[in-house]
């Protein structure tokens, strides 16, 4: 279990604007993803926990041990923090072989035990055949495995990973995700993973925190966040929604009904608590929740006429982009049925409607 409250501010410099980090979160065993664009404070958070950066204010508690506490002046050096850290560039020592890299991390152990432990980790991470090679002689994925093995060999109480999938191509990513699942299962420790890829959150995260400009703007399970983004900012950061400006024209709490006007058409949806009639707001719908049909005459209920701009082929689906920043994602068979439409209607299922 890790609990952290970290405040750190940087005054503006000649090459960068002022930045302040103000985050608070806790994570238990399993994978917690810090998700956010670059420059949102993810790496700074990891560095503060590992002890490379000293926060101005705050408190970091790892498994009942105080790593940092501004109030009482506690600030353990990195070597005493027991946090495994997997660096963005792996940071494997280039002048040592993979075996020596692992042994370096186990040097406080007696010789025999160290030897046994190094062999065990090499085995576990499929590096035994490469043990005698230097980092520049092995592939990117192998370096990755070695740096994770090295971070874990000292049995840390926490594992920190800074954009571990950066620069890996798709098959290696899949392999890496499998490795993470193995690590999560075998080492019962909290794992904090910083990433800019939403895919990674869904693949790996038990829990995610969304970072923006040095703040955590929402946290929860990836599923719950994707279903209920807290605000427009989060929805934009996730980048998986249609965000359309609309107006509420009717609200009926008794019948759990509402009507929203989008581009001159009325859509009915569930009652939106906390909103008022006449509110201008953002309709937030995921592209795969929408469907299309051919336009014949007047649009029916919950249908909006739209002008198709282009279609984009995706590995498992087809994306239809309509004027006004509206995107619909269809399965391939569905698209085959619809592709000869001349004019289009987009269907907004009532239960998919969400407003921000």
């Amino acid at each position: 279990m890790i609990q952290a409250r970290i405040h750190k501010s940087f005054p503006p410099g000649p090459h960068f604007a002022a930045f302040s980090l103000e985050v608070e979160f806790q994570a238990s065993n399993g994978v917690s993803v810090l998700f956010g664009p670059s420059g949102s404070g993810k790496t700074l958070t990891l560095d503060s926990i590992a002890g490379f950066v000293k926060p101005d204010e705050g408190r970091i508690l790892l498994a009942d041990e105080l790593l940092f506490d501004a109030a009482s002046g506690v600030n353990l050096p990195p070597r005493a923090r027991h946090c495994g850290y997997v660096f963005q560039n792996h940071a494997l020592f280039p002048h040592m072989t993979l075996r020596q890299n692992l042994a370096f991390a186990a040097e406080d152990r007696p010789r025999l035990e160290r030897h046994r432990k190094v062999n065990e980790m090499l085995e576990r991470f499929h590096l035994t055949e490469l043990a005698g090679r230097h980092p520049h002689e092995v592939s990117e994925g192998q370096k990755q495995r070695c740096s994770i093995a090295r971070a874990l060999i000292g049995t840390p109480k926490l594992l920190l990973l800074d954009e571990p999938a950066r620069g890996l191509d798709a098959p290696l990513r899949t392999e890496l995700y499998a490795l993470f699942r193995q690590v999560r299962a075998e080492f019962q420790i909290p794992i904090l993973l910083a990433t800019r890829h939403l895919e990674e959150c869904f693949q790996l995260a038990d829990q995610m925190s969304i970072f923006r400009e040095g703040r955590v703007v929402q946290s929860g399970s990836p599923r719950s966040i994707a279903d209920r983004p807290a605000n427009l900012e989060v929805a934009r950061l996730l980048g998986i929604f249609n965000l359309l400006q609309a107006e509420i024209v009717e609200l009926d709490p008794q019948r759990n009904l509402s009507r929203v006007r989008l581009w001159g058409c009325d859509l009915s949806g569930p009652y939106f608590p906390g909103k008022l009639r006449g509110d201008r707001l953002w309709l937030c719908v995921r592209p795969e929740q929408l469907s299309v049909s051919a336009r014949e005459g007047r649009p029916g209920p919950n249908q909006v006429p739209a002008q198709l701009i282009r279609t984009i082929e995706m590995p498992q689906a087809v994306r239809l982009e309509f004027a006004g920043d509206l995107t619909v994602e269809l399965s391939r068979p569905e698209f085959e049925k619809q592709k000869h439409n001349k004019e289009w209607l987009v269907n907004f299922p009532a239960q998919a409607l969400r407003v921000l």
Binding site: A50, G51, F52, P77, P78, R79, A80, R81, C83, G84, Y85, F87, Q88, N89, A91, L92, F93, P94, H95, F104, A105, E107, D108, R150, A151, G154
Partner: protein, 222 residues
Amino acid sequence: MQIDWFPLWLSLKVASIATLLSLLLGLWVSYLLANRKFRGKAVLEAAVTLPLVLPPTVLGYYLLVLLGRESLLGRFYEWIFRSPLVFTWQAAVVAAMFHTIPLLVISARAALESVDRSYERAARNLGASEWRVFWRVSLPLAHRSILAGALLAFARSLADFGITIMIAGNIPGRTQTLAVAIYDAVEAGNAALARALVIVISVVAVAILSLANRLVSRQAAR
């Protein structure tokens, strides 16, 4: 022509000892300059590079005042080693160190600073003390540049004339280094000896410099 090779051997001995001693001291200073923030850092930086710009006679004068038989340090040295420091070959070592330390510190500091910080962070993260980080990670990663700097310093200290003559003097067979011997030969009108010694020192210098360059360029190629 019978050439007395003593000045060459003396020069090489003095330069080697000076380089080794300044490696010890210089590495420590460059570690401080590269890694630590402390008060007086700017002063230390300036003091270390000062010998590069001051005239050798000025340095020699300082040393005479600091290490002469009347001075505190001079008497301390005499008390330990039972002989005065000035006008011995050991004094020539001290003189040479004034050339080796600045060059060594400049190159070693640059080399240590050019080591990617994430390696040092990784080492600390893996439980290494600062001492172990330095010896096992920073130094091995910077060793070629530092070695090249040491060679450069060695070559430079072979060439000292001014400081050596002020505090070690010109005693043939005891403190007469190669540079001083050349001066002596020219003064005495012994052109043949001067020529021979000049060629020898030039060859040695070229050999050392090309070795230093090879070390640095091989590091860059890696």
